[in-house]
Amino acid sequence: MTKLDFYQLENGLTLVGERMEYVQSASFHLLTPGGAAWLPNGCCGAAAVLADWLFRGAGSRNSRQLIDALDSLGIHHNTTVNADHLTLNAAMEAGNLAAAINLFADILLTPRLEPDQFELSRKLAIQELQGLDDDPRGKVMLMLYEQYYPDPYGRPGLGKEAELEALTAAQGAQIAAQLADPSRMIFSIAGRYDFDAVCRLVETRFGACGKRATTALEPTPKPRSYVHHPNEGAQVHIGLMTEIPPISAGAYYQTMAAVSVLSGSMSSRLFTEVREKRGLCYAVGAKYHTLKDYAGVSCYAGTTPDKAQQTLDVTWEQFQRLKDGVTEDELQRAKVGLKSSLIMQSESSVARSAGIAGDFFLLGRVRPLEEIRDAIEGLTTGSVGNFLQRHPFETFTAVTIGPKEIRV
């Protein structure tokens, strides 16, 4: 059985953990309420700036001393921004766990946030954003999410150039001060650890944090639409996204099975029809993308201009065909694939600490691996078919980047 741990500090900060017997590492994710949707209007991209600025000195350490401290412990770390969170992740040899938690507590609670360093972080964020123009494949998906999700949930984590240009150190510092809100933070840990010791340490470092004021979001729906951005590249990069219920709606496993039949592997419908039978693309694939209250199935296909229209047509046809259900054989393959991913994920501390943090945020609890396995095994062509009949894919939002526009 999965060994799950749970503890809540008095101030509301939640710790969730999953102990893993056969690893020597530990990994933690610290989810903070600095996601792109929650930033003040006019500050799009501030979280990307903070992701860098927070690491430019904290507590008694300046920028160089902080990076040296992380490096000397061999801590692998990265910071990501999605719609809801600015997330700090660290993975390390289990013996260095306490030192790592202390360093990350410094980063979040006592960052130096020096104005001259802010300028450098802001410059880097602008450069990264400009770099997206040289990565049409990455750019088309970010534009797609923005076009698809109700505002502000689609706001790009990388930001918008004009807002980044106008962002001040004072605004950045104000946003940074909101991050350590215990009522909206989640600390997840997986691998080899002593949960009591972790709880004591987190309590010592974060126990005094108080709740910050929050304004609820009022999302503005976006109409389904198509936008084309001309460029002189070799391919047309096609992104499309269509509606499906979010994970909290209770149909997660039916959705995963359907998306798996559509695009889970090389025998999936998209790969077979678009690439194998017609040679239209090298890269084509769809995935389930879920936030707490909104979700979609997003799809990417990249192809040369003359094949772009046919690629879209064949791709969308596969989405629409799903309303007729899935075959027994397809479902069996989807189930084995999903279970196999699940078990392989259970071997990696980084994958598990990300997984349990996501579960807790989206569902309010962590699903034991056994529960997920049983739910996958319980799927039938009837349950998946019923779900797809109730949620047929009828409209979509599309974005293309490339030398040729298509008809949608």
Binding site: S25, D71, S72, G131, D133, R137, G233, Q235, H237, Y282
Partner: protein, 406 residues
């Protein structure tokens, strides 16, 4: 962990690292062939052939191949480099033999003409995809410039012309020459039964015939040249730099690896503090690309076009300073700790171990357990790193720089 190895009479080698506690197992065929083994007429054939192996055998159609992998819940793929073509899959332990059996069948493909024609379209799409990825393009072109005339400079993808002109007959001839059992290694990691795997491989592959295979390994010190080009539609300047380094067979590999981390890790390195921290470039890293009997340090920098000259000046100063003052003990320790924890994290999954296990055998006919890898990393001294620095001065580099047209 237990290591076992066996060789069939026809030369096919099987290496296994058994871990009875693992939740999964991973298996891969490592074929010692890649773009460096191609002539200009068949440029790109190794990579195209890798795609064609998924197209099946006399008894398996392409769709049946894909379905067979998916029925096993396999996480599978393949890749082609300058000198290796690797086919791998990770599965739950109960499916390991079935997936190994499937790969063994696929290693004797039919190479049907109609599949060849269809897949050619996919390869041409892949070439077009990379044309829209300047970070990939600069590495490809930089390598070609650095290895000037040496087979390691050959393009893995080939060109639109070479792929368009390639025939199925040429591919079959190449296959017959290169996919000989004595030019292949089967590696397996995780929770599996080695003897049963060997029986299966003997049954499936025992009749394959040994061939005379060879590879040209002319000496290469690398050219030192700088080429600047422009491309319409780009926003940033992308720089790739190549300089001479150790080969895969060289015992100085560990010291060279640590030197590349000290100089060019994504964070906390010399590149980081002189280029990324001051926001002169948004990305800068160096990697060690050790190969068969040769090798290179390769670096990538992405910056504002107007910062490109400054980036070069900074790097030239950085290399000169390192050459004259050496590196600090603390830098070596930090790099060592970072690499050690990468090794530990990657080794948690059999799939993470597989490539290491396979390549150690392909290049050195040696097995290194994780503990031995760790011990060798721990044994590297400052003198070792300085001696690599002296033998392979990164200041002597080839640069390929691609930026927006004015």
């Amino acid at each position: 962990m237990e290591f076992k190895h066996r060789q069939l009479d026809n030369g096919l080698t099987i290496v296994g690292e058994i871990n009875g506690d693992a939740q999964s197992a991973a298996v891969g065929f490592f074929v010692r062939t890649g773009s460096r083994d191609e002539t200009p007429q068949i440029s790109g054939v190794s990579h195209f052939l890798e795609h064609m192996l998924f197209k099946g055998t006399e008894t398996l159609s392409p769709l049946e191949v894909n379905e067979a992998f998916d029925r096993l819940g396999a996480k599978f793929n393949a890749f082609t480099s300058e000198e290796n073509t690797v086919y791998y899959a990770a599965v739950l332990p109960e499916y390991l033999e079935a997936v190994a059996d499937l790969w063994a069948q696929l290693m004797r493909p039919t190479l049907r003409q109609d599949d060849f024609d269809m897949e050619k379209q996919v390869i041409l799409e892949e070439i077009a995809m990379y044309l829209d990825m300047p970070d990939f393009l600069v590495f490809d072109r930089g390598r070609e410039l650095f290895f000037e005339g040496h087979p390691c400079g050959n393009s893995v993808l080939g060109t639109v012309d070479s792929i368009t002109g390639l025939t199925a007959e040429q591919m079959r001839a190449y296959f017959n020459k290169r996919y000989a059992p004595n030019n292949m290694t089967l590696a397996c990691c995780g929770n599996f039964d080695f003897d049963r795997l060997c029986q299966l491989v003997q049954r499936q592959c025992g009749a394959w015939t040994r061939q005379e295979t060879s590879r040209l390994t002319p000496p290469c010190c690398g050219a030192i040249q700088k080429v600047y080009e422009q491309k319409t539609g780009l926003n940033r300047r992308h720089l790739a730099m190549y300089s001479d380094s150790v080969s895969m067979q060289d015992d100085r590999w560990y010291a060279a690896k640590l030197l590349s981390v000290i100089l060019g890790d994504h964070s906390g390195s010399r590149y980081f503090w002189s280029l990324v921290d001051p926001a002169i470039a948004d990305t800068a890293f160096m990697e060690l690309a050790a190969m068969d009997a040769t090798g290179a340090f390769c670096s990538y920098v992405c910056c504002d076009p107007e910062n490109a000259a400054q980036v070069e000046d900074i790097l030239n100063t950085l290399f000169a300073t390192v050459a004259s003052n050496g590196i600090e003990p603390a830098e070596l320790e930090a790099a060592r700790n970072k690499v050690l924890s990468s090794v530990a994290l990657k080794s948690e999954q059999p799939m993470g171990r597989l490539i290491n296990l396979g390549f150690n055998w392909v290049y050195r006919q040696e097995y290194f357990a994780v503990e031995q890898d760790i011990a060798r990393l721990r044994a590297v001294t400052l003198e070792d790193v300085h001696s690599v620095l002296k033998a392979f001065n990164p200041a002597d580099y080839t640069l390929y720089s691609l930026g927006p047209s004015r």
